[in-house]
Amino acid sequence: MLQISHVSKRYGEKEALRDVSLQLSQGEIVGLFGENGAGKTTLMKCILGLLAYRGQILLDGRPIVKKSKARLAFATAEHSFFPNLTPEGHRDFYSWHFPEFREKRFRGLMEFFELPIHKPLRSFSAGQKNQFEVILALCQGADYILMDEPFAGNDVFNREDFYKVLLGILEPSETILLSTHLIREVSGFIGRAVLLHRGEIAGDVSMAQLEDSGQSLLDFIKCTYRYEADRVSKALGELAGEEDGE
């Protein structure tokens, strides 16, 4: 279990995370939602130890140390692969550093997405780069896979394929924390939704609970954020009024 307790993070004057507490059990697929700047990426970077923070993050009751680092994988829209290295080179690099690297899964996914194995990553298209980033995270052999906007730039069919593949290959011990803005798309894929708003947990609900209440994920998110559906029409009306008045 990944336990995040009272985690806070400041960037100078700005408080990016405020007293965030969250638990991720093994095998869960959790969607992490929030507006731009809500703190999704910051939270993931804190979990991965890429940022210093206040609070505590424990993995199976223990702080994350060198040995347990390999139990966490990360796929980011910024990409964390080496642009000059080929997928083959990445495979060797990962196998060397992560003893649990899933070679068979790597081969299968590379074939499925028809990615060239001998070309350097810099020659890949944006979509292919995203695919490869996710493949690496899935094949590291980690128990907790953190994904930060991994499909930004991929077309809808490609994303659809990925959700299906993910559901098909994930083992019961593998946990996914997926940060995305594609709420409708992932609602059938995740089992739980966590909402961040201005650095705080604004909502945490399981998809089963939502189903029982007859509410869609999008409605739940809108409701939690107190989203005003008529905000745009009001603003446009005001703008039109101003122009008429001139």
């Binding site: 060198k66 680092k69 966490l72 980011t76 910024e78 990409h79 964390s80 060397w96």
Partner: protein, 167 residues
């Protein structure tokens, strides 16, 4: 399998290319150092005077000091050694270019991996450059002592040599 030596450069950099650049730099430094022989030849020639058809050693002739003849002959090796600093920077910056592979490097269970890959080759190149400069210094000094006629050598050459190192 990963090549044993490629583990000492950033992934995707290629050790061969790195060594090629270093070899080119070291070769240039060596060629530059050969100017020592030209200066030695000129200074040695100045010890002699032409008498009739014969070159004879001038009675008051004194050879300039070794450090004067050496001048900046070994400076090229200093430049190659100093290039280790931008070289190291380039290695580190690579992890922010085109992607954020720094995230991966910092997530590795082996926390020395990043530094090993960024520092090893430039620091080794620096050490090799300095060692080559030291060896050439001794060789050139030996050549100087051998080439200068007895009696033309100014005293205290060793002390003057040590002064290069600030000793």
């Amino acid at each position: 399998m990963m090549d044993k030596w490629s583990r000492y450069v950033p992934p995707g950099f290629g050790l061969k290319r790195e060594l090629k650049f270093f070899t080119a730099g070291a070769t240039c430094a060596f060629v530059w150092s050969l100017a020592f022989f030209f200066r030695l030849y000129q200074a040695r020639k100045g010890l002699y005077i032409l008498e009739g058809a014969e070159w004879i050693l001038s009675p008051e002739a004194q050879m300039p000091d070794f450090v004067e003849i050496l001048d900046s002959s070994l400076a090229g090796f200093g430049v190659v050694a100093a290039s280790a600093v931008p070289w190291i920077l380039l290695h580190y910056l690579y992890h922010w270019q085109g992607s954020r592979s720094i995230y991966l490097m910092r997530r590795l269970p082996d926390s020395w991996e990043l530094h090993r890959r960024c520092l090893t080759v430039p620091l080794a190149a620096m050490a090799v450059s300095l060692a080559a400069a030291a060896i050439l210094l001794l060789i050139y000094f030996g050549i100087y002592l051998t080439a200068v006629p007895k009696g033309c050598l100014a005293p205290g050459q060793w002390q003057k040599l040590w002064r290069i190192f600030g000793m």
